[in-house]
Symmetry: C2
Subunit: 378 residues, 2 copies
C-alpha cells in the first residue's frame, strides 16, 4: 500500500485490552493511563516538585506511616528491595531472612550481594515463617542487624503475619525489613503500628498502576543505621543519602537523577483512586473477591496451596489431567484473560490468580470462573 | 463545593504544557504520550515480548550496531551507567575515566563503588579529553580493563570526539565505555564503526520519550569480559547475566523483574519517529537548529562556553548584569519555557539550552530568542 501523508511505515502499536489476573501487573484504570499520558514536566519544575511531594504524602497514607523518608524508587519493584539492602547492609553484616518462596530467596541473594552473611529461616514453599522459627533465629544470631520477611509471597500466595515477628525482632534490637510488593493496597500494611523499619512495594499490583516504580519507606531507626555507615553505599543509583534531600521536602532539591516524571503522575492518580475508595473498604473488597473466587474454584474441585492464603494472589493446584499451557492459552486467546503460571517447584502444577486493585471485581471473578470451566471442558 | 457524583475530592493532575529546552527531558510528542497511555500488557505476554523485541531491534538501528545485547535498562539514564560499571568491573580492577564535568566525575564515582581503582584523566570543565591525554593514560596504566568517556557532557555542552580515543584504547587492549545520554538521536553515535564496547543513553533527551529507561548496548568483547567474571555482579537488579535470556530473543524468556511495560511502548514509538525522520536528517536538523540558536544568541552578545559545542546542549555564559533566576523565572512564568541552570562551578554563571529531539524546531528557537530578549529587557 502506498504511504499516505501522516501515516507511518511502521506498524501501529496496538496492545490488546487484557483482563490481567496474573501475579501482576493488574489491569490499569483508564484514569491512571490518562494521567500517565499527561504532558511531561521537567523533573526540577516547581509544578513537578509539588506533584512529587503530593505523591509522597499519598504514599504515607497508603503505607499508614508518618515516616518522612517515604518515596517511589525510580525503577520497578525489585529495585526497592535492592535500595533497602544496599543502604542498610554493609560488608560483613549479619542478617536474618525468611525463605519460603522465590522472593525470600531473592532477598537472601540481594543481601549477600551487598556483602551480608545471611542466616536463612527456611520454610516449605506455601507455608509461612513461624514466630517460633524467628525467635530461634534471633537467639542463634544475636549480632544480626536486621530480619527480612516477605509479607505477600507472590510465588506461593502465602500471607505472612507480621505483628508477632515484629515484637521478636525489635526485642532483639534488630530492624524489621518487609517485602509488601503484592499486599500494599490490597491487604493492611500498617507500617507504624507494626513497627516496620524498611518496606518496599511495587506499583503494578494492588495499586493498579503500570510497573516502573517501587514505593519504599524507612523508619527513623533505619535512617540512623544509614547515618552510621562506615562505607559508601555500593550502588550510586539507589544511594538514599543522595536522594534524601530530593524527597524530604526540605526545599533543597539537589539534582540526583532525572525522575520518571510520567510514571509518578500515574502513581499519584492510582493512590488517589485507592484513597477515594478508602483503604479499609478496599481491603474488604479484596477479601470478598477472594472468597467469591475461592468458593467458585473449590466448587470445581480446585484447591488452594497455602493454608494462609493472600486475598490478592490465589495460588491453586492445577487439577489432575488438566494441561497448564492449554488452559492458559485458551484464557488468553479466547477471553484475553491473563492468569499466572507456577514458579520453581510449582511450574506446571499451580496457577497464580491475581485479584489485585482494579482487577478485583465481581465482573472479573465471575467471568474467570466461567472461562476456566470452558477452557477446562467442565 | 459539594462533591458531585463521579468527581474526586482530590485536585486533578494538570501539568503545564511546557516547551522543554533545558538539559532534559525534552518535549514529548503527542504520539509518544498516546503510546505511553496504551493498555498495559503482562510482561510475559507474547504480544509484549514482540513489542520488546521490536524495541530492541529499533534501538540497534539508532545505536547503528549489530550488537545482540542491546536493550533498555528498566530505570532512568544513570542506571545505564551503573549497569555497565557493575557488570564490567570487579573489585580490584583498574580503569581509566575522563573527567571534564559532572558526568565524567559521576562515572568515576560509580566505577569506584564497583570496586575499581580509577585513574582519572582530568580536563577543565567545558574542554574535551584530548587523544594525547588518553594515550598517556593508557601508557601509564597498561593494566586498565577499560576506558570511559562522556560523548556529550550535559553539564558543560562539550562534544567529545570518539574515533581517535577508540583507536588508542583498543590498541592497548582495553574496552571503550561511552556515555551517550545527551547525544543519542541528536548526534551520530556509531557504535559499531567507532568500536564502542559498552554504551548507555537516556530516553528523555534527543529521543523525546519521557524519562524512565536507559538504552544500553554491549559488544561481543564486553560480553566475553562478563562471561569471565570471577565474582557475582554486586547489583541484582542490574545483573546482565540474568537479563540476557530475557532480551536475547532466544525464546527463553526467564522472569527476572517486571518490565516497565508502558515506558517501553513509549520508547518504541519514539524510536519509530526518529527512524521515520531518518537518522542523518535528524542530525542535520539538530545541526541547523544549533546554528540558528547560536547566531541569535551571539547577536545578543551571549557567548558559548565549550569550544567544541554539542548541537543538542548549548551551554552559554550569562551576560554581566543579568540575573539568572529572574530570567529563567520569566521564561517559565510568562512563556512556559524551561531552560537549564548551570551546574557546579557554572551555577549562576551559565545557562544550558537544550535543542533535543522534538524540541529542536525553528518555532522553538525563534520563540526562545524573542522570549530571552524580553526577559533580559534587551
Amino acid at each position: 500500500m502506498a504511504r499516505l501523508a501522516g501515516m507511518s511505515d511502521f506498524t501501529q502499536l496496538d496492545p490488546a485490552e487484557r483482563i490481567l489476573m496474573g501475579p501482576g501487573p493488574s489491569t490499569v484504570p483508564a484514569r491512571v493511563l490518562r494521567a500517565l499520558g499527561s504532558p511531561t514536566l521537567g523533573h526540577l519544575d516547581p509544578q513537578y516538585i509539588g506533584i512529587m511531594d503530593e505523591t509522597c504524602a499519598l504514599l504515607r497514607r497508603v503505607f499508614e506511616t508518618e515516616n518522612a523518608l517515604t518515596f517511589p524508587v525510580s525503577a520497578t519493584g525489585m529495585a526497592g528491595m535492592e535500595t533497602i539492602a544496599s543502604n542498610l547492609v554493609e560488608a560483613g553484616d549479619e542478617v536474618i531472612v525468611g525463605v519460603n518462596g522465590v522472593f525470600g530467596a531473592r532477598m537472601k541473594d540481594v543481601m549477600e550481594r551487598c556483602g551480608a552473611t545471611v542466616h536463612a529461616i527456611e520454610a516449605p514453599w506455601g507455608e509461612i515463617i513461624s514466630d517460633d522459627a524467628v525467635a530461634e533465629a534471633v537467639q542463634a544470631h544475636p549480632k544480626a542487624k536486621l530480619a527480612g520477611v516477605v509479607h505477600a509471597e507472590t510465588s506461593t500466595g502465602a500471607h505472612q503475619p507480621l505483628e508477632g515477628i515484629s515484637q521478636i525482632v525489635h526485642d532483639a534490637g534488630m530492624l524489621l525489613v518487609v517485602d509488601a510488593v503484592t499486599s500494599l493496597g490490597g491487604h493492611p500494611v500498617r507500617v507504624d503500628e507494626w513497627r516496620i523499619d524498611a518496606i518496599y512495594s511495587g506499583t503494578q499490583k494492588c495499586l493498579s498502576c503500570p510497573p516502573g516504580l517501587s514505593p519504599v519507606s524507612f523508619s527513623e531507626a533505619a535512617m540512623e543505621v544509614m547515618d552510621r555507615r562506615r562505607t559508601k553505599v555500593q550502588s550510586w543509583y539507589f544511594d538514599v543519602s543522595m536522594l534524601r534531600d530530593y524527597y524530604s521536602g526540605s526545599g533543597k532539591r539537589a539534582y540526583h537523577h532525572t525522575a520518571p516524571v510520567n510514571m509518578v503522575y500515574a502513581l499519584r492518580e492510582a493512590l488517589v483512586i485507592a484513597l477515594e475508595e478508602g483503604l479499609e473498604a478496599r481491603f474488604e473488597r479484596h477479601r470478598q473477591m477472594h472468597h467469591r473466587l475461592r468458593d467458585g474454584l473449590e466448587g470445581m474441585g480446585i484447591t488452594y496451596i497455602p493454608e494462609q492464603s493472600l486475598h490478592t494472589l490465589n495460588c491453586v493446584r492445577i487439577p489432575e489431567g488438566v494441561d497448564d499451557a492449554t488452559v492458559r492459552g485458551r484464557l488468553l486467546g479466547d477471553y484475553s484473560i491473563e492468569i499466572g503460571a507456577g514458579l520453581g517447584p510449582f511450574a506446571g502444577k499451580a496457577w497464580r490468580i491475581g485479584l489485585m486493585g482494579h482487577s478485583a471485581t465481581v465482573r472479573n471473578v465471575d467471568l474467570l470462573l466461567a472461562a476456566l470451566r470452558e477452557a477446562m471442558g467442565r
